[in-house]
Amino acid sequence: MLKKDLGLFLLILVVGAVVAFLNPRFLSPLNLANTANLIGLFGLFSLGEGFVIITGGIDLSVGSIFALLGVIFINLLVDYSMPWPIAVLIIVIAGILLGAIHGFLVTKVRMQPFVVTLCGLLIYRGVARWYTDDGTAGFEFGQKFPALELLTTGRSFATDTFTGIPNSFIAFVVVAAIMGVVLHRSVFGRYLFAVGKNEEAARYSGIRSNAIIAAAYVISGGLAGISAIYLAMYTRSISPASHGNFYELYAIAAAVLGGCSLRGGEGSVMGIVLGAILLQVLQNLVNLLGIPSSLNFAVMGGVILIGVIADMQLVRYRAYKANEKKRAGVPVLGAAAPGKN
């Protein structure tokens, strides 16, 4: 898995170097800070998506969750003048609840994850538009939440010469570190891989696979709730018809680029982080190199396609190498006899 991450890291460096060479503005502090901010915003919910994908599922609903929870969040702050920490708490809990509903439908009702979250995508978007009468929800003129703004859109470590690191990026790094420990070091993380890889064998080992799978959706929902707040504070106004459109696809793309298999059981937090970074670098590339922004998705799709094909070839090559080594005389241990009948 490390090798895979290394390959992705190198790809990011190569793409970055090419862009920097063609347009030196790529490395300007302002551009780097903006890109880091976007990496943070998109990376947060990609981590949750990755967890769901590792269970063999998928979460298509996150983009619509941003619209729904975003308008509710602004509504709570503006129309109900609620203290922002309580509003934040409500939104995160709402995200967790939506995730729990998805988890329940997937594990207990045994619906397919694609169908469950596709319905979520449609329902939440529709409700969000109805909630605001299809209008744009925004803060009132001059309304300020200094502490909340500092946490979400502010920057840290700024000096006279340095623009500072976006706090959204710092939040992403912190969450990624926690998720990395959870996925790669904790009992729950091991169970997640076990269930994603072979649910049957996991059950025979006494793992409550339903609880594990449901938990992945809850985590994805919770992170979507947090992301909804970050995105709302970033855009400061939300038109529910378009806010967060297609964002679930960024998350899926980041996870797949990062080595998560849609069949489940494979993936790493480092991979998802690198995947999220690469996607934003590509976005930036389109802007900086003067490529028509309408080609944005085409560039992203092309890079993912090539990346996944290259990765498959690499895996095949490695398997071939390993086979050769075996044939070259590494002793085969305890050859199995074929089963009778």
């Binding site: 420990v181 070091r185 904790s186 009992v187 729950f188 091991r190 169970y191 891989f193 076990a194 890889k197 072979n198 049957e200 064998a201 996991a202 059950r203 025979y204 080992s205 006494g206 793992i207 409550r208 059981g265 241990l333 305890g334 050859a335 199995a336 006899a337 074929p338 089963g339 009778k340 009948n341």
Partner: protein
């Protein structure tokens, strides 16, 4: 018709067919001929070589020696196409039907009548018209457009036969066709066989149900250890005579006597009903320190019983007591916390994570023990994995090796290592040595005995006669979902086990 005029030569002649795998002789010089319009029964214990022989006829397995003559043509080995083109058709035990399509579509799958034109649209009317006569011939009571999902098992068997006939089959091979049928359905199927015989179709009928074999076949051929050990014709076809031929090999003594006599009951199963055999309650008592063999033919409901006890499958009724306490087991975790473990039959699918390392596999059912708080301690789980690797003599480069790269025997040892790490009280082994080399087999037998001597109650499900007779202290035999008898060691014999396994009572 030509077919009726050249009845003299047999349709199928196998001559000295052998098939060896490294270390195993599956078939050893089998000769068998089947005449036109003849029904030949093929019987033998689990592992006698029936399946391999059928695979040779189906073109799936290439024999190492011998010749095959079908309808006057000689083949060194059949290919799948040879088999189909020469009119050999199979009706499999597990039916190969698409239950999302209707009956007619299944029969002519891949050979659908088309309207002309580039779109290759299926002519449904012609399809149904073509199938109707076949169904009429078999006297079935469903229409060509009935979805397969709506058919009963017996109807599906008949549909398979119709499919065979549509291929102009001249030899139909049926593998346990009646195992899931009711009595009236069976009677119907047997009468269809008679009609086929009248049309000159040859049939090879494989069954464990000796009474059915007796009523419907012209001749019985008995296989044992890959060899034809005899055949019976006409009046001599009797269950007793068939059993006598099926057994009678020398069994190597595998028995390791226990050091301590069995103790108090560890597991008491009362009136258990599984979804596979809802009408047959099973009761069974397993004592501490004994190895109880659970014998029977494949499909007798033993695995289903084990899965229901362990909580993988739902049980319909019944109670469990573990060491005297009533317990409710709803899921495997409930069984595991009480020290009741299962080594499953399908080790690749249920027993292991093939691309997990030894360490990750071994610690999986007991991960909390190797954790500090919520985090797994790599040092703790690796230490245990290393201990188990040495204790069980698992031949792998190191404990980071992926389980899937190891041989069957070593994989099975990993499954055992999972449970041995966590103090078993009761272990159910389901076919513990299937597909395992001889050396690993005897290691596993020794291990089972050591467990029993340490006071663990061992239930061993095995379809291997040598194993179940050689290893068990006591035996229960299952037949079609019920326990047909218990045997103490002094009454262990292939004859007695087989009698009970085919549902006859011992005298």
């Amino acid at each position: 018709m030509q077919r009726l005029t050249e009845t003299a030569a047999p349709f199928l002649e196998l001559n000295g067919i052998s098939k060896t795998y490294p270390g195993v002789v599956a078939l050893d010089g089998v000769s068998l001929s089947v005449s036109r319009g003849e029904i030949v029964g093929l019987i033998g214990e689990n592992g006698a070589g029936k399946s391999t022989l059928m695979k040779v006829l189906g073109g799936v397995v290439e024999p190492t020696a011998g010749t095959i003559r079908v309808d006057g043509r000689d083949y060194p080995a059949l290919s799948v196409n040879d088999a189909i083109n020469s009119g050999i058709a199979f009706v499999h035990q597990e039916l190969n039907l698409f239950d999302n399509l209707d009956a007619a579509a299944n029969i002519l799958i891949g050979r659908e009548p088309l309207y002309g034109g580039p779109l290759r649209l299926i002519d449904r009317k012609a399809l149904h018209a073509k199938v109707q006569p076949l169904l009429d011939k078999l006297g079935v009571d469903f229409a060509p457009d009935t979805p397969v999902a709506a058919l009963s098992l017996a109807q599906r068997q008949l549909l398979e036969i119709a499919k065979a006939l549509s291929l102009d089959a001249r030899l139909v091979i049926m593998d346990e066709p009646t195992s899931s049928l009711t009595l009236t359905e069976t009677a119907r199927l047997l009468s269809v066989l008679n009609e086929l015989r009248r049309d000159g179709v040859s049939i090879i009928f494989i069954s464990h149900r000796l009474n059915e074999v007796k009523t419907c076949v012209d001749r019985v051929v008995v296989l044992r250890d890959g060899r034809v050990v005899g055949s019976l014709v006409g009046q001599t076809i009797k269950p007793d005579a068939m059993i006598r031929l099926m057994i009678g090999r020398d069994l190597k003594s595998l028995y390791i006597p226990p050091k301590v006599p069995p103790g108090a009951p560890a597991l008491e199963i009362s009136d258990f009903r599984t979804t596979a055999f809802p009408d047959h309650p099973v009761s069974l008592t397993l004592r501490r320190g004994e190895i109880l063999g659970l014998a029977g033919l494949v499909g007798a409901g033993r695995t289903e019983l084990a899965c229901a006890v362990f909580g993988v499958d739902r049980r319909l009724a019944g109670t469990l007591r573990i060491e005297g306490d009533d317990v409710t087991i709803r899921e495997p975790r409930d069984a595991i916390t009480r020290g009741l473990y299962l080594v499953p039959e399908d080790r690749k699918r249920c027993g292991l994570h093939l691309d997990f390392s030894l360490t990750e596999n071994i610690s999986l059912p007991d991960l909390m023990t190797y954790a500090v708080g919520p985090l797994v301690s790599a040092a703790a789980e690796e230490k245990n994995a290393e201990t188990q690797r040495h204790r069980l003599n698992i031949r792998a480069y190191d404990i980071a090796t992926e389980a899937g790269t190891l041989s069957g025997g070593n994989q099975q040892k990993i499954v055992l290592a999972k449970w041995l790490s966590m103090k078993p009280r009761i272990i159910i082994f389901d076919e513990p040595t299937r597909g395992i080399d001889v050396g690993a087999k005897s290691e596993i037998y020794q291990l089972m005995r050591n467990l029993a001597d340490a006071g663990v109650a061992v239930l061993m499900i095995s379809s291997d006669m040598e194993e179940v007779i050689g290893v068990s202290d006591r035996m229960a035999v299952m037949q079609e979902g019920r326990i047909s008898g218990f045997l103490e060691r002094d009454r262990f014999s292939e004859h007695n086990v087989l009698q009970l396994a085919v549902g006859k009572t011992l005298n």
